[in-house]
Amino acid sequence: METSVGVGLGEIAVSQNRDEILVAFGLGSCVGIGAYDPVKGIAGLLHAVLPEPLNGSDLTSTKYVGNGINKLFDEMLKKGAVRDRLIIRMAGGANMLTSPGLSKTFDIGTRNIAVAQSVLETQKMKIVSQNVGGNIGRTFRVYVADGKMTIRMIGEKETVF
């Protein structure tokens, strides 16, 4: 029987249990990074909140995009995944505030996307597909059974991306 495993703010989930679905609910400006090793059947999902830490912040926290991506890969590799095989998809990073005067100040979503793309590029990890930006929230699911990744927006059906 399928079981949903919620991945909260700043959290990472890694699973090899084919019955599990990893879910980051309602990503707004946050970004979700999903990764899957098709040979080992290992799936992972990061729910990152902020682009990067400021001086004095908790530099190791996985709520930051860069730290989160590194930790996600570390945990998957520990379980036996192979870096070169990882299929990576990204969703989220919306700008939830569209009001003039507010949106620019708060566009953390765009910065989250940019940092994630930069970190992955530096590590020579390719993003296979992404559904990012805009000004709408998304729920991101990773199906451990086959590595399928989906998004759902409010009032819409779940779609594979």
Binding site: G8, L9, G10, F25, G26, L27, G28, S29, C30, V49, L50, L54, N55, G56, S57, D58, K63, A94, M96, L97, T98, S99, P100, G101, L102, T105, F106, I108, I136, G137, R138, T139, R152, I154, G155
Partner: protein, 201 residues
């Protein structure tokens, strides 16, 4: 990194509680005035909460939610938000427009504009109280109305307050209007630097 907890003396907490209680009561007067209906402040409090726990303060993360969001400008920085389930927002629009409850079923430009005005008045009444009692100038930005998944909307607060902080101070209140059975959350999240500046005095 700011350490809010370090300045939370009993005296300072009492001051914040007073500001939140009386400011929120003033905000409810603005809200009631616009609706033309009496509104009750069911509860209000000032609390320090972990940033990543904000998302657990409301219902399901995918619930369709409406938020009216304002930022404050001037010598006191912060954020304000009225948060409610979608059906509640429809009811509020009906009241503002003088229509029977149940008339509004979607939020178009006109309906959002009505909610913006409600947020504007509520926020302004709150800030007027704060300004009168602190001698500091403070004003709201134009409000933004969002309709989306609850968790996605809360990302705004989490991302903006959380850049430098693991915890945020939050005043929260529940407004109850007789004809509408569920509550409306009114949140005020002062900028931590502002709170620290006041707390140090």
């Amino acid at each position: 990194m700011t350490e809010l907890r370090s300045i939370f003396t009993d005296e300072f907490i009492n001051l914040l509680t007073k500001i939140s209680k009386e400011g929120i009561e003033n905000a409810s007067k603005g809200f009631s005035g616009m609706l033309g209906k009496e509104l009750t402040v069911k509860s209000s409090s000032a609390k320090l909460i972990k940033l990543l726990d904000i998302s657990k303060m409301l219902g399901g993360p995918e619930d369709e939610t409406v938020a009216i969001y304002l930022k404050t400008e001037g010598s006191i920085a912060g954020q304000m938000m009225l948060v409610m389930p979608c059906e509640k927002a429809f009811g509020l629009v009906d009241m503002i427009m003088g229509e029977p409850i149940g008339t509004t079923t979607t939020l178009g430009t006109m309906e959002k504009s009505a909610l913006q005005e409600l947020g504007n008045i509520t926020g302004t009444y709150f800030l007027n109280y704060v300004s009168d009692n602190t001698g500091r100038s403070v004003r709201p930005t134009p409000p933004a109305v969002m309709v989306d998944m609850c968790a996605a909307i809360l990302d705004i607060v989490i991302a903006t307050a959380g850049i430098e902080n693991e915890e945020v101070l939050m005043f929260d209140a529940e407004f109850v209007q007789g004809e509408l059975s569920t509550e409306i959350q009114f949140w005020v999240i002062p900028d931590p630097k502002t709170i620290l500046a006041y707390g140090a005095k």
